[in-house]
Amino acid sequence: MRTRTTFDQALSELKEDILRMGFYVEESISQAVESLAKQDVSLAQSVIDGDVLIDNQETLIEDKCMKLIATQQPLAKDLRRIAAGLMITTDLERMADLACDIAKITRRIADQPLIKPLIDIPRMAEIAQKMVKESLDAYVREDVQLAISMAKDDDLVDSLHNQVFRELLVYMMENPKNINQATALLFASRHLERIADHATNIGERIVYLVTGERKELN
């Protein structure tokens, strides 16, 4: 006999809401980096404008979680599921903000030629996006192994970030006129590195959701 049909329905709805938010965020990151590499201001603007949708989705999910806590008295895995949902939502929202910040960088440096073609930053973005996607897959399937292996990629993003930093440092030392743009790009790189950290956090939430153990993933 299924005794908590309504609650179970609400929980699976919550999962879909979080996934939907995740898709928006993936999209936002990918477009932000594309706008940066192609110096596409209107694409950047649409990322910035779209952030409100993600914020609304976060509010919606938070409200649903609060309501479930208040009315369903969740315990054990149900409780962990809702707590993990709230935390994952927070991580996703931060990622979206960082994507927005990257789009703002696009806007700021759009009127000047790039000091170099962007190679490592799009690579970082690719890995970070893959992490976000895998973290959401791991969440849907409650797949601890995938969550753990996904978080390992954070090392790649970190080392690319260091590489970008060293490279931009050289450009800045060569010509002080590069400092403005190089600093902007360095921030973009840093934002991507933070996005990967948030994906790692999501991995940790998933491990907690499934096993009840808190595990530092990277």
């Binding site: 299924r2 005794t3 908590r4 008295q73 969740p74 054990a76 409780l79 962990r80 009840g212």
Partner: protein, 252 residues
Amino acid sequence: MAPAKISVKDLNLYYGDFQALKNVNLEVEENQVTALIGPSGCGKSTFLRTLNRMNDLIEGVRVDGAILLDGRDIYRPEEDVVNLRKRVGMVFQRPNPFPMSVYDNIAYGPRIHGTRNKRKLDEIVEKSLRAAVLWDEVQDRLYKSALGLSGGQQQRVCIARLLAVEPEVLLMDEPTSALDPLATMKIEELIQVLKKEYTIIIVTHNMQQAARVSGVTAFFLSGDLIEYGNTETIFTKPTDQRTEDYITGRFG
């Protein structure tokens, strides 16, 4: 773990042919609140009643195994059951004050146990009512019938009545199931105060109550003790799937 006030060893209990408790082993910590949870008929109330031998009053009950209170088996033949029930008192689901004044309710036990001195009795009554956080509410009506009090107050009269005979262990069988939310909260607060001096074992069907008031939780199912441990762990990360199914309401 704090020292064990009660150690239950290989406890089996039968109602005639029906085995209601199956080889239960459990240590009850001193000055701790232990919650017993489980679906109706799982044996939790039966288990509670074994702790002061209330089951002796039911016909056809057979118990084997041992229950050590401070290291001594309460089921040994020479145990003084009246004294046992003074040491291990019980609060029931429905408040059951005696149909007499608040004062006489509280003084009842001490009088039976031989206290006659009026001043001494006054002292016990006030102290017990204060300990049950009821004094302020009833000090002006000590000589009126306890039955005129609200349900929550009546339940606290029953607790004060227990405290008057200076017990060591308090058994509570769903002590708030007949009370409104406010009275329930008062009893729960009281439990927090009392646990400093008493060892408390509470049966409850309210998961949140068990989570709020207890430090240790035991989950019973069909007479078996399934899982026993730190309350926080049981309610956030139970080990046994049956515990998880029960506390998340997905039972059966």
